[in-house]
């Protein structure tokens, strides 16, 4: 019993950490540019497929190479998508709705492209680190440890970037007061594209981390999209801190509900908790009113 509970807590923490990495990216886009990105889940799958591609070449059999190649590709991809699809809409009326529609279209396009290129079958990736730590009944795979460490370092790097670099500070400035940011001469358009690109890297990295634990499928991103949105709304739209807490709460909730009632109940439980929270606190855990 006790080891089971510990197992569940650990699994909740590990999933929570990857969710946090991904949801923080989504929250960031919303906080900075008020745009809803419905292609976010497909960017997740894209991370997985990128890793799969890299592993297709025998001489590149190394996760370090995967990360080093995937990060700039994802960044560049996100940047271009923002410049080509999202930025032109921003000048129009009702651009928020139009951005939702175009990113949704983008998601369908990407998912179907994955299916055409890679086929509908699941792809699996080698584990990042084999082996496990065992103590009696208690088993902790090294893979999970690495996933946890990498997710947390991803979040910490991101935090460092926001607090200590000029670009990071300008991202926060635009999120807190766009008019003020304009006054001090911050190029808003660049900040919008850069945040979109950074969030693409974050979710793509999440995709690579989870792909070796689960599988890569063309439509695997929808689950992540839904969960990231739940976490973002739960934590408070645009609040990075709120998303962090919400991600771990969601990870834990999933683990415990899955353990007690079976995995089919996890999404139901998730939405029940989200709805209850929003009824009591419409602005989410740490969001601002209004």
């Amino acid at each position: 019993m006790l080891t089971e509970i510990i197992d569940v807590i650990i699994s909740g923490m590990i999933n929570g950490s990857v969710y946090a990495l991904m949801a923080v990216g989504l929250t960031l886009i919303y906080g900075v540019s008020k745009a809803f990105n419905f292609a976010y889940g497909s960017f997740y799958s894209m991370g997985g497929y990128l890793a799969f591609l890299v592993f297709g070449f025998a001489f590149l059999h190394n996760y370090l190479i995967v990360f080093c190649l995937a990060a700039p590709i994802l960044f560049f991809f996100g940047y271009i998508i923002e410049k080509l699809l999202v930025a032109p809409l921003r000048k129009r009326d009702d651009w928020e709705v139009k951005v939702m529609m175009i990113t949704l279209g983008m998601a369908l396009f990407l998912d179907n492209s994955f299916q055409v290129v890679f086929g509908a079958r699941m792809k699996s990736l080698p584990s990042i680190l084999e082996g496990s730590f065992e103590a009696g009944e208690f088993i902790l795979s090294y893979q999970d440890v690495v996933i946890f460490i990498l997710s947390i370092s991803g979040i910490l790097t991101f935090r460092w970037f926001l607090n200590n670099t000029r670009t990071g500070m300008s991202v926060r400035a635009v999120a807190q007061n766009p008019a003020g940011a304009q006054i001090v001469g911050i190029p808003k358009e660049f900040v919008f594209s850069a945040t979109f690109a950074i969030s693409t890297v974050m979710v793509g990295m999440g995709g690579i981390l989870l792909a070796q634990k689960y599988f890569v499928t063309p439509d695997g991103g929808w689950d992540i999209l839904v969960k990231s949105w739940v976490i973002t709304a739960f934590g408070g739209m645009g609040s990075i801190k709120g998303s962090l807490y919400a991600a771990f709460i969601v990870g834990m909730l999933e683990a415990f509900v899955g353990w007690q009632f079976g995995m089919t109940w996890t999404l139901i439980a998730l939405f029940a908790v989200l709805l209850t929270t929003l009824v009591i606190r419409p602005q989410g855990l740490m969001g601002k009113r209004g």
Partner: protein, 234 residues
């Protein structure tokens, strides 16, 4: 230093400024007076590249800057200090100031300007770790001015710097503007008629319904019956 000719500004289809011409010479303090809602803020924002739709010409140190966005004009030394301050609420005083030095031309002088700003506003130095959202109205006003100075501005456009301040703080603001000006920064500011501020002016303009209705020195303004009527009700 800055020369504006036949400036027209629009918000969507709303024609706010109508053929406004104005000139500020290097080292001057020029004050534009006018009733609320007649386009004073729009005028300053147009000069500082914060209004999209403008026609006419704005030239700064001989260069045409009409239609350049704030990203470029801030870099050239033109800085707007907003009437409603537009600070970054969840950042510290120090972070707000550092962002004031965002533009490329201000970066090399960040340290130097920070020291200058702290000696001008000792209160801000004492509160540098405090969040901007927790400051009083007067302190926030000082922070907005200080952030403007961090851009290494040579031309400061101030939008009602004494708005909402109690009389003793207005005197303080007037003193600071004078000090800023004597350090070589040209100042263009808009105000409703605040005697302490108006007293600083080398030249006065009055803006009514989007047009310049008076241009001249303080003495000329005192002799103008129409001005007496709108500002003093006499």
């Amino acid at each position: 230093m800055i020369k504006i000719q036949n400036l027209n500004s629009y918000y969507d289809d709303f024609h706010v400024l109508k053929n406004v011409s104005l000139e500020v010479e290097k080292g001057q303090i020029v004050v534009m007076l006018g009733p609320n809602g007649h386009g004073k803020s729009t005028f300053l924002k147009s000069v500082c590249g914060l209004v999209k739709k403008v026609t006419g010409s704005i030239s700064y140190e001989g260069k045409d800057i009409t239609g350049l966005g704030a990203e470029k004009t801030v870099n050239m030394g033109i800085t707007y200090v907003a009437e409603n301050r537009e600070l970054f609420p969840d950042m510290t005083v120090l972070e707000n100031l550092k962002l004031g030095a965002y533009s490329r031309s201000a970066r090399p002088f960040e340290k130097e300007n920070l020291e200058k700003v702290f000696s001008l506003f000792p209160r801000l130095k004492a509160r540098q770790a405090q969040f901007a959202s927790t400051m009083s109205g007067g302190e926030a006003r000082m922070l907005a001015i200080a952030r403007g100075l961090m851009s290494n501005a040579r031309f400061l456009a101030m939008d009602e710097p004494s708005l909402g301040l109690q009389p003793n703080l207005r005197i303080e603001v007037a003193r600071i503007i004078k000090e800023i000006n004597s350090a070589g920064i040209t100042v263009l500011l808009v105000e409703q008629n605040i005697p302490q501020i108006t007293a600083l002016a080398d030249k006065l303009y009055v803006l009514e319904e989007g047009r310049i209705s008076f241009e001249g020195s303080k003495d000329e303004a005192l002799g103008n019956d129409h001005l007496k009527e709108i500002f003093l009700g006499m």
